[in-house]
């Protein structure tokens, strides 16, 4: 390697690392500040805390209206798990039908599904709210979870259709010769082979449900049903004032832990999800 190249590479590394540090700085500052005493958070832009305390975590964990963050975390987690199950069942079924089965109206329904992919959700917002209210569902998790069992996240249907189409058709045909019906092919061939796309679906369902705020704001009315995202909002008062910044930053930091773990554990699935759906963020 020529000397010039070595210098150029080193400079590039230094540039990338510096820019990366600037990018990460706010998050790093938040994590570190959550361990600083409340009165030092305001003044200290540094990343090395002069004093370390976990008092913010204790005060933040107390939560809101007598419900602790332990409950909020359990609520969020349960909601995410049910949402994942719903999306996995309903989206794979629809995707299998679109990608592999021949039936009257397939082209039409597929076009409809692709249109809903681009549709801003706000047009359906008010009627859905009125509908769920007449069912008596407002204040429960049903308005958030039932749609997952009805494949309303068209992104995942699209992602799974793309993936299933890329699987070799010969496998289906072989299974059919061996006596499998449509259900047999689905359970024995498609589902096992589509597992990478299923992981991507589960992963993004988790992230979007975990971080979703709007639906939680609309439908979760009692503090004991609050999710982490909904509960974090209670740190910010209605005029925008925050009384317990230390607690807010501590709980905000904790709320990111599951996302971080999944991101580093399942990195390769991210790229697939982002490049096929291209949305969010």
């Amino acid at each position: 390697m020529k000397n010039g190249t070595v210098i150029r590479h080193t400079l590039t590394h230094i540039f990338i690392i510096t820019l990366g540090l600037v990018m990460i700085y706010p998050i790093a500052w938040m994590i570190i500040s959550s361990f600083k005493p409340n009165n030092m958070i305001f003044s200290d832009p540094g990343l090395i805390p002069k004093a370390v305390t976990i008092e913010n975590y204790i005060s933040g964990w107390k939560g809101y209206a007598g419900t602790s963050f332990g409950r909020f975390f359990v609520n969020s987690l349960v909601m995410c798990i049910v949402a994942i199950i719903g999306n996995l069942i309903s989206c794979t079924m629809a995707a299998y039908a679109f990608a592999r089965l021949k039936f009257a109206g397939r082209g039409f329904w597929f076009a409809v599904m692709m249109i809903t992919l681009m549709l801003p959700g706000h047009v359906t917002l008010v009627p859905r709210y009125i509908l769920f209210n007449t069912f008596g569902w407002v204040g429960t998790y049903l308005p958030i979870l039932v749609p997952k069992f009805l494949a309303t996240d068209a992104f995942f249907v699209f992602l799974l259709v793309q993936f299933i189409r890329s699987l070799p058709k010969e496998l289906d045909e072989a299974a059919i010769i061996d006596g499998c019906g449509k259900f047999g092919v689905f359970f024995r061939i498609i589902l096992p082979l589509a597992s990478p796309a299923l992981v991507t679906t589960a992963l993004f369902t988790f992230l979007w449900t975990w971080d979703d705020f709007f639906n939680h704001l609309l439908y979760l009315t009692r503090p004991e049903t609050f999710t982490v995202a909904r509960a974090l909002r209670t740190f910010v008062g209605d005029a925008g004032a925050v009384s317990n910044w230390g607690g807010a930053l501590a709980m905000a930091t904790l709320s990111m832990v599951p996302t971080f773990i999944l991101f580093f554990a399942l990195q390769k699935y991210f790229v697939q999800g982002i490049t096929t759906t291209g949305i969010k963020g």
Binding site: H13, M93, P120, V123, G240, G278, G281
Partner: protein
């Protein structure tokens, strides 16, 4: 013998397939198609969530309420004979949202492309760098980051602390100053450039190395190569990112809601469209009006998306790169 009724034949042929399609189909009919029709109708009524029985058809009333100020109307009579006032904040929310979209989307895409090119080199540890650069996107949409952002850009926040330590004085409270509040949100959006970056990276990998080699043999410098090779060959990806980011930028809610403390911020400087829709529908229970607003949003997004696709004829090249 084979004279089966039509529907029996249809079910025999398609029944099993429709079993697989059923959840999606039910979801589409009950949670998309029906609500769309319903909200279209609601948009022409004065539906109030607290007194749905008093709902009346008011024709274009909600739409005049939105756009009346453009024609210098401040009060008008609805078809019910009722006097209605033109909404003084609607146009403000529209201008806030357009400013935000026009500023944040191009900046975000430019930044995403620049970083993608930086990380498209053959370097040691480059996949680690990509992961780190994606972290703001991973977390950025959350309430947690919105809360953090408030803290960073407060008058006594971290940003002013840093600027103060290098000698700046008389710094404003960025969140509470109507001149700057929107720009803190633009910055928050640009910071989350990761998804676009990853899509650009995938696109950049498709461009054959030989093109650049041939161009540099012909004496083209890096800048010329960028405009003659990278941009044209990447243009379909740019189009895709542009459309996707534009659609989602129009719908931004969480950050504006948290940073504005549940409202539109000081002097409504961050009264984003969807935030205002929420306030109308759920704070004032004006769900008929909120539905009409949602339809205008759909129309705006639809028209702009169509325009972008139309314009793509002269700036997107789908050729194999002659």
């Amino acid at each position: 013998m084979s004279e089966m009724p039509g529907f029996v034949k249809f079910i025999k042929r398609n029944g099993a397939s429709y079993v697989f399609l059923a959840p999606w189909l039910l979801g589409f009919l009950a949670l998309t198609l029906y609500p769309m029709g319903y909200s279209l109708w609601l948009g022409f009524t004065n539906y109030d969530f607290t007194q749905p029985d008093a709902t009346q058809w008011i024709g274009l009333g909600n739409y005049i309420k939105m756009f009346g100020s453009v024609f210098d109307i401040s009060e008008f009579t609805a078809s019910t004979g009722e006097a209605m006032r033109v909404d003084p904040y609607y146009m403000k929310s529209l201008s806030v949202t357009f400013t935000y979209v026009l500023a944040s989307v191009p900046l975000k895409l430019a930044f995403a492309l620049a970083v993608a090119m930086l990380l498209n080199q053959k370097l040691r540890g480059v996949s680690f760098y990509r992961a780190v650069y994606y972290i703001p996107t991973l977390l950025g949409g959350s309430v947690a980051i919105a809360v953090l952002w408030r803290k960073l850009f407060e008058k006594s926040g971290l940003v002013n602390g840093l600027l103060g330590s290098i000698g700046f004085t008389d710094l404003p409270g960025w969140i509470t100053n109507p001149k700057y509040a929107l720009w803190t949100l633009v910055l928050l959006t640009v910071w989350q450039f990761g998804s676009s970056m990853i899509i650009f990276l995938a696109g950049l990998k498709q461009i054959p190395e030989e093109y650049y080699e041939a161009a540099s043999v012909d004496g083209a410098n890096k800048v010329e190569q960028f405009f003659a090779i990278t941009i044209p060959l990447l243009s379909p990806v740019i189009l895709f990112n542009l459309v996707m980011q534009m659609i989602s930028a129009f719908q931004v809610f969480t950050q504006a809601y948290i940073i504005g403390g549940g409202g539109g911020g000081v002097l409504n400087s961050t009264l984003f469209y969807t935030l205002y829709l929420y306030i109308q529908g759920w704070t004032y229970h004006e769900m008929g009006y909120a539905s009409a607003m949602a339809w205008i949003l759909l129309l705006i997004i639809g028209v702009l998306t169509a325009l972008v696709f139309k314009s793509s004829g002269w700036w997107v090249s789908y050729g194999s790169g002659e």
